[in-house]
């Protein structure tokens, strides 16, 4: 508690505001009583608006991985196609197999996008009844062409479309129902700017129907349990009530800002950060045209000492950036610009970076 506050510019968890913590610190209520039901019911229309869906939006007390695993457990009877383009999307293949499911990778190099024609080629084999896509691959700072891929998936009515928007949800418009997304999921410690501990996910009617046919779904992540409890404005198990208070607060904050303004702010922060990188002679790690709107993965083409840069920023300015994920550690670094950040605070980070780069 006596440690200095290091401000996070890593791509999650991100900085959480004082008023968010305050909202989360309200007195406990029984999760089977009317107080909780009122809270849950109040949140639903706001969530549906932010996620552009008429589907119920469930609240899972878990990280997003819980819901990623749940999607496989609840929806896959034949075989799942896991689109792999970075650490998190790659891992989904492993998780699918660990759930005892048949799974196949559609794999591209890190930094490259999943393209609609690749998806089409796989799905047309008729082997698959589900596909998983990570919209915004956090490890590489890459955003896949969701709308174009969605058009392809729509051609295959038996294929469930599961989309991980962990680090993109609320930072740009994701038109869930129009895109035919069957499960849209995210944790709240990224663009939501809340502490980790809760996942939100929207599930389509046809996904619920599919779940009815799948055995051994278990209990904790059973989509049908979520639906049955949702119908009573409750969750299957005791939820993290502080997070649900926080979610409600954040949704009201989003409404005050206006969603379009929110999206414009995220685009502006992203552009500013890409411009900063290029002005400093850096390239971007993801393929041009597929850069993420919530974080910039900078290619270390100048071969700077990334860990030294991190340390300088932390020591001098009490801010933390990420030094690259797994195999691209040191060969890249990541700057997050999401949640409650603004073009101004992101600009401040750039100034700090400029200063610390000089001293390397």
């Amino acid at each position: 508690m006596t440690k200095p506050h290091i401000k996070l510019f890593i791509p999650g968890p991100v900085e959480v505001s004082e008023d968010t913590f305050q909202a989360m610190s309200q007195p406990m209520i029984g999760h089977r009583g009317s107080g909780f039901q009122d809270l849950y019911a109040a949140i639903q229309p706001k969530l549906r608006q932010v996620l552009y869906t008429k589907n119920p939006v469930f609240l899972s007390t878990s990280s997003a991985w819980g819901v990623m695993e749940a999607s496989v457990r609840n929806l896959v009877a034949k075989k799942v196609l896991n689109c792999c383009c970075g650490a998190f999307s790659d891992k989904w293949l492993d998780v699918s197999q660990r759930c005892g499911k048949q799974a196949e990778a559609l794999k591209v190099e890190w930094g490259q996008p999943i393209l609609p024609e690749m998806v089409d080629a796989k799905l047309k084999t008729g082997q698959f009844d589900a596909i998983t896509l990570v919209h915004n691959e956090t490890s590489t700072g890459l955003m896949n062409p969701l709308a174009e891929i969605a058009q392809v998936v729509k051609k295959y009515p038996d294929v469930m479309f599961v989309v991980d928007c962990v680090s993109s949800m609320t930072a740009l418009k994701i038109d869930t129902d129009a895109l035919g997304i069957d499960v849209l999921l995210a944790g709240v410690q990224k663009a939501w700017a809340m502490p980790p501990g809760l996942a939100v996910f929207a599930v389509s009617d046809r996904a619920l129907k599919r779940a009815e046919t799948i055995p051994a779904r278990g209990y904790y992540f059973d989509f049908l349990e979520f639906k049955a409890n949702h119908d009573k404005n409750m969750t299957p198990s005791t939820p993290s009530i502080p997070h649900i208070y926080g979610l409600n607060f954040k949704l009201d904050q989003f409404a005050k800002e206006g969603l379009d303004n929110r999206y414009a702010r995220h685009r502006k922060m992203a552009q500013k950060t890409r411009d900063w990188a290029k002005a400093n002679g850096f390239e971007l790690f993801p393929k041009a045209g597929y850069e993420s709107v919530t974080l910039t993965c900078v290619k270390n083409n100048k071969n700077i000492d990334v860990s030294k840069l991190q340390k300088a920023l932390k020591d001098k300015y009490k801010v933390l950036i990420d030094g690259g994920y797994g195999p691209i550690k040191g060969k890249s670094f990541r700057l997050a610009h999401m949640g409650d950040e603004t073009p101004e605070t992101v600009g401040q980070l750039h100034t700090m970076l400029d200063d610390c780069l000089k001293s390397l």
Copy 2:
């Protein structure tokens, strides 16, 4: 936010103190960085002391049900014996089956305890490789004779002993290793007096070895993933960092009070509440000798209007008691006395009850 604060005397969630919320509101840290690893490492010895175990104690961002399901998924190859004596223990049978496992109930009437000889009779059939026991059945206010049952289970070295201590952990000594418990689990919204959203569980070596032999454990609740990450002072998935801050704070609070003092306080609150009930002509719901130390389930033998009593307490005193669970709603009511409560605050509740009972 403008609603009045209703103090909870329901058996979970219970009242959370201001300083706990403050501890939970510290700035976020990266869950893959040294700050988090230091926090995790600092908590471990404290947790092991409170749980009387040399085993690692894992932190699951979920409710206790997640870990209850996990225990079945990770440990059952043959068949699990689910000891059923109330709503939560009964449900474990259903959950076991939903995980695709062979399961059988050892069932007694609500209010009756599971007795060691019943367990022996079942286990000696040789059909089972795991047994689940709810130590403190929250729905009936009954505490099963854990030590005596443990002696029986020890006779069967192939049987994994899974014990749910959701509403008893930290309120009395549970000698995990001496009792041969393979999985000891609880959520933190009961005697821990934290908000819901985290489960803690200790897993024995032999349970980890058993897990190695079980397919389709999945990822989110895979015991071996917990162990592999534990060895690096991390959790498999992004954890609820606020809850882990809170856990650390609570553990320090327990140490300051002294565990023996803590247990004595809980015994005193329980005795005082049982005395209050009897002095008012009420019987206790659970069989004599098996009353819970953390909550008192009062039998409504006087046929009072329980919901009217609840309403009077809420309106006049801003406190909430529970009106009985499921099939015994109205035929019983429950008074919790755990967590941060004291004989004094419990005495205040009794005075409020006295007053409201007069007005019925």
